[in-house]
Symmetry: C4
Subunit: 224 residues, 4 copies
Amino acid sequence: MTITHDVRATISALRAEVCGLHSELTRYQLVVWTAGNVSARVPGHDLMVIKPSGVSYDDLTPESMVLCDLDGEVVEGDLAPSSDTAAQAYVYRHMPDVGGVVHTHSTYATAWASRAEPIPCVLTMMADEFGGPVPVGPFALIGDDSIGRGIVETLQGSRSPAVLMQNHGVFSIGTNARSAVKAAVMCEDVARTVHIARQLGDPVPIPDHQVTSLFDRYQNVYGQ
Amino acid sequence: MTITHDVRATISALRAEVCGLHSELTRYQLVVWTAGNVSARVPGHDLMVIKPSGVSYDDLTPESMVLCDLDGEVVEGDLAPSSDTAAQAYVYRHMPDVGGVVHTHSTYATAWASRAEPIPCVLTMMADEFGGPVPVGPFALIGDDSIGRGIVETLQGSRSPAVLMQNHGVFSIGTNARSAVKAAVMCEDVARTVHIARQLGDPVPIPDHQVTSLFDRYQNVYGQ
Amino acid sequence: MTITHDVRATISALRAEVCGLHSELTRYQLVVWTAGNVSARVPGHDLMVIKPSGVSYDDLTPESMVLCDLDGEVVEGDLAPSSDTAAQAYVYRHMPDVGGVVHTHSTYATAWASRAEPIPCVLTMMADEFGGPVPVGPFALIGDDSIGRGIVETLQGSRSPAVLMQNHGVFSIGTNARSAVKAAVMCEDVARTVHIARQLGDPVPIPDHQVTSLFDRYQNVYGQ
Amino acid sequence: MTITHDVRATISALRAEVCGLHSELTRYQLVVWTAGNVSARVPGHDLMVIKPSGVSYDDLTPESMVLCDLDGEVVEGDLAPSSDTAAQAYVYRHMPDVGGVVHTHSTYATAWASRAEPIPCVLTMMADEFGGPVPVGPFALIGDDSIGRGIVETLQGSRSPAVLMQNHGVFSIGTNARSAVKAAVMCEDVARTVHIARQLGDPVPIPDHQVTSLFDRYQNVYGQ
């Protein structure tokens, strides 16, 4: 594969961005040790940038990020890529609007995942960001396309940018890596708040049309 | 609107104060990503200073705070103000003694809010600060005055400086922005402690006249 | 009261120590805003050093600590002392071996306190430090000797260096301020661990003679 | 015992490593005050390096680590070694492949330990790292070989690198000190996630052959 000078600059910027975004995973305590990662698509190319496998967050540098093609094969990098590379490559191949993917085992979201139970949409903030429940994907072993396929099939049937893979953890997506990280952060936050709400009773449901109203406004009006 | 030199100095100081107070929201983990904000009234003027919408806490500067009138319209600022500006402006218009307003989705308080359940006053610290239960306000969609009206009507019937808006989160008030932040911090603290107490049984009630006695002393004697 | 040159040096050192120990309260998240304090007896004198009332932990300096007599009256200091001064002075007057007192509303311990339920001794670490359950003291309003008396009467019937005052929070003692802070830290830690243990079933009891054996060893052998 | 120049260099490096690894225990909040420690075997020698007893994590230096023989007797060091030295020495004597041992009272793991309940393997991450449930060892008093013997007998019947000692806490092992620390971090993480999962229902079991498949892959493929 020939990489032109222009793409070089894009890749270089994405290496720095992907590397830096891991500090949001540690800031919000979504990960322990080395168990979580961020990737980004190289826009317009069948390439992605992803964390190396088993490297501590403190030791990450832009240069240590691994450049892979969308079959998950290494194109450039001295280190082996995340063991989640194949799953994330599958997502990029099948969801052309996705520019970033994040994987964590964040505590509360993974607890819902271990019960194979979707997080019900009982918070306005959750309606804003997820537009409904956070759905559950299938149990899938690592090693073939079953994780990637489970992520894609579940997310394509939902407004949610995050999926709880059964007994496993969270995969989140976004138009870029930063928005995928935001979805991972918000997913854990609503997983925790709804868990705690449910411990002492039943949250009040929000009617579907109001969930939709909140979602539409937030996607179009919020922010700068 | 003409802004005189004297008011300029006040606004400049409030921009710095409001900006800086957001670090208390992150210190006590009341907010994730960009989901919470602080505002302050410009004393003696129909103006308020508030966080810009969707900007990360790390990136806030005094200059990026937005000056609005009390209809929530921008008077000065390059950025769009918080999407909660209309609600907070409503509070300033209808509660003349309020000098600061804070909004968060802090975890435990929002869990109570999602069940539409007031936090019972079973802690002396809660009697001190809240003078009784933390009340619940109505479910209200963003976009008109219904959030602002819900906040004001609920707080006017209570000693509490904080209200749990159903399925949504916390709004707190104070004579200035700092005391509104304090109320937001204390609200999450009592929401968490009473939640945990209730998980394993029933807290001992505190008789109403003792709640009142604690509240009166604290409001008049505590601090410098 | 005449304060000699020698006592001056002691007081100066205690001001620095008491001030610095507040950073352990924030490090272990035992306190929010200004709601907790440390004091130390001036050995051999009817004097104590304590945190000023309502001052933020970030703003504490050795000079801002307040010197009081053991009736709780200010001897030296520009600021009003903690509103817990009277209670802590009572402890120093009635427990001559106590050199330090700490007060917090730490979350899990205060949750047990709000149910008026002692923390059962089901952890070896708890046997080491507390020698049995952490006991509950009476509900008592601030303003006279009832809090101090409740602390003293409860601790005199127990090996525990910490007491849960009903609906209120924790008071802990030690031969000096540092050991009282340690007891406050350990009290929250065991309150949290036993709470979590109890959420999913019943901890295995530890027989009394083994609690005693652990306590005796730890008090005599542990550390340097 | 004569210590040759070559072994000196190894011991010096291990002192620095063991000292530094304690910062992972505090980073992940596995320990409070001084209640937890790391040790490492000196490869090829009947020697170990361990934390001194009762010293604050902030005050640890490589030089303050204590060199002991595998009977737990001090070989070099001005300070008394951890009170867990005898138990850890027993592990090194009876498990020749173990190069590092860690002891904590981390909250969620200790909660399971206080109920004498193994943590069921319901997370893929747990299958990866532990290869099955985290087992429970016997109640054992400090002072003879009963803690060490309980650790060894429990771990020898399990794939897990961590054991929950009843009413006590966690001991974890690894081929070196860093991998033992990783096991301690992961043990608390899965103890917390499975606890939270269980609070609202029953996690979906993972069939044994899939646990084995995940364990085998992770031990052989993950990382660099």
